[in-house]
Assembly symmetry: C2
Homo-oligomer: 215 residues x 2
């Protein structure tokens, strides 16, 4: 669907966060080593899929010995790039922006929150989670002074285009995008991850329907 | 990764909402007919992928003639099951629940919002978006009286397990799940769509890293 890292396909890349999350849980539970069979079982995929996936990145296990949980978790963290700091702002501090602000464990994944932006004059200048909400007048200066790497867009589709234009002009090339505005096509040099909640609702509708049909 | 509808694979199912969204936009723009080549271009996939996908469901186009946008959109709506009413509650009315309440266009996809639930005594009994927020004491009666089909869980992972247990006991078998609590494994007869925002952050980290390496 979107960009890949050379040979590695997007479905493999999309499984990496699941491995990471699974390995974090195992590590917290005190598990030292795990077989591809057992890891596959927890992840609800096949053991050969696990071996194939991890081989894409050079392989981290020895045939018959399984994987060291802590080592594999660290290697996947490196692969994902969550072990490096990425200075981040949230643009749009409505309910969605607040939900993202309070529910995301940013720093766990290297995203260091540096500031909040909104256009709403009632919000601008107020404090939230230790940050003063800024408006666009501060945008250019803020981005360069704070070496901002990424923006999380919590905006409706209708206003996202104009905001992306400003952020792009201020040097931002990385976006987590909750709107349906198509950043990828308009700015092909950007890294974009779209979160489309409406697609999740549609998928649930489908799963409900197919479950009912199969029962 | 999870359940499929007989022969149709999960990746195909996951593309259906994207087709639907794309066709809605085309229809709103007054486009009557579209070729698989053009549809593929907009969707950023290959034309043969489009033809293959739509053939999975019986095919809706004629070779060389393309697809009628309105017909195809309606057929995909039927396939997805978004053309039927699904009575729905949101459980958890913190920032995430509010974001979901105000940002999701539920009814567009057949999810009719019927009620809100939370445990927080400060919220219970207050009104939001025309609904009185209920607590668990009303849960069983509410679910059966309102024929609730689905629950949207806007809860932290730690409290999700206990809530799912109650909802399952009250007859709910369909969940949109924002927590990392694994409903699918614990209740295999349920339709579950997980929305894991942390995985989106990790994927963005990866895309940023691989973009920087390729530049």
């Amino acid at each position: 669907m979107s960009k890949t890292d050379g040979q590695i396909s997007m479905p493999v890349i999309r499984r990496l966060p699941k491995y990471y999350r699974c390995l974090c849980t195992l590590e917290q539970s005190g598990v030292d080593k795990i077989s591809s069979r057992k890891l596959a079982e927890i992840m609800n995929i096949t053991a050969s899929q696990v071996r194939q996936d991890l081989n894409c990145f050079g392989g981290f296990g020895q045939q018959g010995y399984g994987y060291f949980v802590a080592t594999l978790r660290q290697e996947i963290a490196k692969l994902l790039g969550i072990d490096t700091i990425k200075n981040t702002v949230i643009y749009g501090i409505g309910n969605l922006g607040r939900a993202v602000l309070y529910h995301f464990d940013f720093e766990k994944f290297g995203f260091q929150l540096k500031g909040l932006f909104d256009k709403n004059p009632e919000l601008v200048g107020t404090e939230l989670a230790g940050f003063i909400i800024n408006d666009d007048s501060k945008l250019d200066k803020f981005m360069s002074e704070n070496s901002i790497d990424a923006a999380i867009l919590c905006l409706p589709t209708t206003s996202a285009g104009a905001v992306v234009e400003k952020l792009y002009a201020a040097g931002i090339r990385n976006f987590l995008n909750f709107s349906h505005y198509d950043i990828r096509t308009n700015y092909p040099d950007c890294a974009v991850e779209d979160v489309h909640l409406s697609e999740s609702l549609m998928t649930l509708a489908y799963l409900m329907k197919s479950k009912d049909r199969n029962n």
